[in-house]
């Protein structure tokens, strides 16, 4: 459970850092691109987590459907 939490936290922070600050581990990624400040504020966290949960649900539904057809 701790490892899952770490993985989730890493994915969340990578997405938020790239979109919110245009950086990864402190290094600038694309020079000249303006980052979306919203993503490093509180709403960005909610959005990213919601979209991640949506993605997880899609994957879960898909694997369940594949198992049914087998």
């Amino acid at each position: 459970m701790g490892l899952g939490f770490t993985l989730n936290l890493s994915v969340l922070s990578i997405i938020r850092e790239i979109t919110g600050a245009n950086k990864l581990l402190g290094y600038q990624l694309i020079p000249g691109m303006k980052p979306a400040l919203l993503m490093i504020l509180a709403p960005g966290a909610f959005f990213t987590l919601g979209l991640l949960l949506w993605g997880m649900n899609v994957i879960k539904a898909r694997t369940a459907r594949f198992k049914q057809t087998e």
Partner: protein, 200 residues
């Protein structure tokens, strides 16, 4: 003492620095209990009570026990004990007074103990430097009440929205938590509009 300061603290903890939307504290009861409006109101009142009393008792404990004996580093243990005793009290009262509410809240009632909003308000009271001010006790109680009221407003708004979302046509995979998170994000954007507001 200036009544303006109390008003400023109250408005800023309810709207500008809302514990859920701008500090992202106390999310687990926020997402867990906001399914039904009735239980959300009960939970909100319980959190208001616990946060107000917790900020009162932790402030007294910090100023008159921890600081004189130079044991400020034990503040987290002391605060947690105070909060746990308060939550135990609230749990017993709710179980006796309203059994349906007790069953509706379920695991989330004892979880107020580790609710980061409650410990957060106790620690923030100390960080705000209220301990060295003249009317610090009053300020910290107002901040605790405002934090609880802000949490309750967020919870009740969310419960109302979620009751409507239950019957709305949304994609199958978005139902439940994902749409709740996205709604919370939209509400957090609207609460961002309060930031930078000057009260006086």
């Amino acid at each position: 003492m200036d009544i303006k300061i109390l008003f400023t603290i109250l408005i800023s903890t309810i709207f500008i620095n809302n514990y859920v939307f701008s500090r992202i504290l106390g999310l687990c009861p926020y997402l867990g209990v906001s399914k039904k409006l009735d239980s959300a109101i009960g939970m909100g009142l319980a959190v208001i009570f616990v946060m107000t009393m917790a900020s009162f008792f932790t402030f007294i404990m910090y100023k008159y026990v921890l600081v004189p004996y130079h044991i400020e580093y034990l503040s987290i243990i002391a605060f947690i004990i105070v909060i746990a005793a308060l939550v135990q009290f609230v749990e017993m009262v709710i179980e006796k007074v309203s059994t349906p509410l007790y069953q509706a809240l379920g695991i989330f009632l004892p979880l107020i103990t580790t609710n980061c909003a409650v410990l957060g308000v106790a620690v923030l009271n100390i960080d705000s430097g209220f301990a060295s001010q003249d009317f610090g006790l009053l300020y910290s109680v107002v901040q605790g009440f405002g934090g609880g009221a802000g949490f309750t407003i967020a919870l009740i708004l969310m419960a109302g929205i979620r009751e409507r979302l239950e019957i709305a046509m949304i994609p199958e995979n978005l139902k439940g938590l994902p749409i709740t998170f996205i709604t919370a994000g939209l509400m957090a954007i609207s609460f961002l509009g309060f930031s930078g507001m000057k009260i006086f």
